[in-house]
Each structure stands twice: as C-alpha cells, then as structure tokens.
C-alpha cells in the first residue's frame, strides 16, 4: 500500500508544477474563424439535443496528455465533438477520414 497521492488527470491543471514558471500570455484576440465555427457547431448540436457540455468534457478529457498540450483549444473541442457524433451515429467515421 502506498500513501502517494495519485497524479491529477491531464486536464486538472490547478496548481500544476509544470506551468509554475510560465508567464500568462496576455492574448486578448477573439477566436479565429476556425474557433468560431467549432464553437457555433457545439452550441447548435447541443440545442438540437445531440450532445451535452458533460459529453464535450468527457471527449476533451480523454485526449492523451501529449496530444492535449499539442492541440489548440478549439482543436480539442473539434476532436471531442466529431468523436461524439461518430459514437452516436450522426456521422460515419469514414466521412471524417482523410
């Protein structure tokens, strides 16, 4: 038996030591066109009852750590939202493959 505290999940960044000395980049710019489009899709799909915020979170929080930090904010959203719509059969996985 160990009394070590389990490492927090990837998305649980409160107090995370790896960012202790990272200044906050004072970026005020609104989302770019890509981000706004993803943001709008999330709201539309939620309003149509096809997904919830908790499902969005589950999809984001399941992204492996290295990819989580490599992807931009709305890129994580897109991974989650498109994955959810495949799971639910709203779109087919083949339609999303390159």
């Amino acid at each position: 038996m160990s009394d070590a505290t389990p490492a927090p999940a990837t998305h649980d960044l409160g107090g995370a030591p790896r960012f202790r000395c990272t200044p906050v980049e004072p970026d005020d710019a609104p989302p770019d066109a890509f981000g706004k489009r993803v943001d709008a899709l999330r709201q539309i799909l939620a309003r149509k009852g096809l997904m919830s915020v908790d499902e969005l979170r589950r999809g984001i929080e399941a992204i492996p750590e290295a990819e989580y930090h490599a992807l931009g904010y709305y890129e994580r959203w897109l991974r989650s939202i498109s994955g959810l719509m495949v799971e639910k059969g709203v779109v087919a996985a083949e339609e999303l493959r390159p």
């Binding site: 409160g14 980049e25 004072p26 970026d27 489009r37 931009g72 890129e75 897109l78 999303l96």
Partner: protein
C-alpha cells in the same frame, strides 16, 4: 497569439461540416447565425450590470443574490445557461475567477473567454500563485486584502463585482460602465477612474 489550427484539424473540420450538411443536421446559415449571435455577447453587458449595481442598491442586492435573475433584468437571456454567481469585492476581500479544468466562463454576460483565460499557465497558476498572476497585469493588492480564488465550473459560472473606485462621484451609468473592463470582471484588474 494563439497558434493557428494545424492543417489536419482544418481538414477534419471541413470533412465534419460536410458530413453534417450532407445529412441535413445543420446548415451553413445556422452556423453563420450562431457565430453572429455569439459574437454579439461582450463584456460590455457585464460592465453595464456592474455600473447599475454601483448606483442602484436594489439591483446590487439582486445581482449578489441571484446573478442569473440580474442578467435577465439587464435584458440577457439566460435560458439553458448555467447559473451565474457574482462575487462582491470589498476593502478586505478581492476575488479572482479561474476555471482550472478547462474554460468555464459566464459567456452570456462576458462573451467568448479570452485566450489567456483558457491557457495552461493561467489555469495552473491562478490557484498556486494568484498574486504573481495579478502582478503580470500590474495589479498589486495591499497585503491586508485577502485574495479569494474561485473556480468556475460547468455547473456554475462566476463574475466579479469590483469596488467602485474613488473619483467617480457623480458619473452616470454609461461613464461608470466604460471603466469596467473584462479583466476587472474576471478579477485580474481593478477599475480605475483616471
């Protein structure tokens, strides 16, 4: 600046939208309308609520008791939105809002969360070194002022009611609202009269 999306992400979005359009789940008009509606929300809404609370004690009481009702009273539809809580700054307590898990933010009254609010550095350090974070905005609180950091969540969103600064006596609501910035509503900055 936030990095632009990777080419594979841009391509994934194009394929995803094409699939949704082909199946009639969404239309381009719906997407455009949703973007326009989201663009319309801005920190000016929260600033107007704060200015009203500074000049109208009954509204201040409502704002602190039920932020969602106060937003509705300011003409904002809160249908389908998580509840809004409002944190009252005083001479002794200052509040700072963060979402350590992601980016939860009172979007109905403040608009899109800024990039820095969603950044790993802000999420990690707001709870570990809040005075250091505030210093990066040039905000220095006296040592005797307690700093309370509040985590916004998927189920409850927070906004700060800052103190009305000295030197604003006699100002009308529009002029008061003009000094209440988005940063002040999150708690990284303080409204200034000058």
């Amino acid at each position: 600046m936030a990095a632009p999306p990777r080419p594979d992400s841009v391509a994934l979005l194009d394929r995803f939208v094409a699939a949704l359009l082909a199946r009639g789940v969404v239309t381009e008009a719906e997407i455009a309308e949703q973007v326009a509606r989201t663009d319309a929300a801005s920190p000016e809404i929260g600033a107007r609520m704060v200015a009203r609370a500074w000049t109208d004690p009954a509204y201040r009481e409502l704002l602190l008791r039920d932020g969602s009702a106060a937003a509705e009273a300011a003409g904002v539809s809160m249908a389908g939105m998580p509840p809004l809580g409002v944190l009252e700054d005083t001479d002794r307590v200052h509040h700072l809002v963060v979402c350590t898990l992601c980016s939860c933010y009172p979007r109905a009254v403040l608009g899109y969360p800024p990039h820095w609010y969603k950044s790993s550095a802000y999420r990690a350090r707001a709870v570990r070194d809040p005075r250091g974070v505030l210093a990066e905005w040039g905000t220095v609180l006296p040592d005797h002022v307690e700093l309370r950091v509040v985590d916004s969540t998927a189920d409850y969103r927070w906004m700060v009611l800052p103190q009305r600064p000295a030197g604003t006596e006699g100002w009308d609501a529009a002029r008061l609202a003009s000094i209440v910035t988005r940063d002040a509503l999150v708690g990284v900055a303080l409204p200034k009269a000058g």
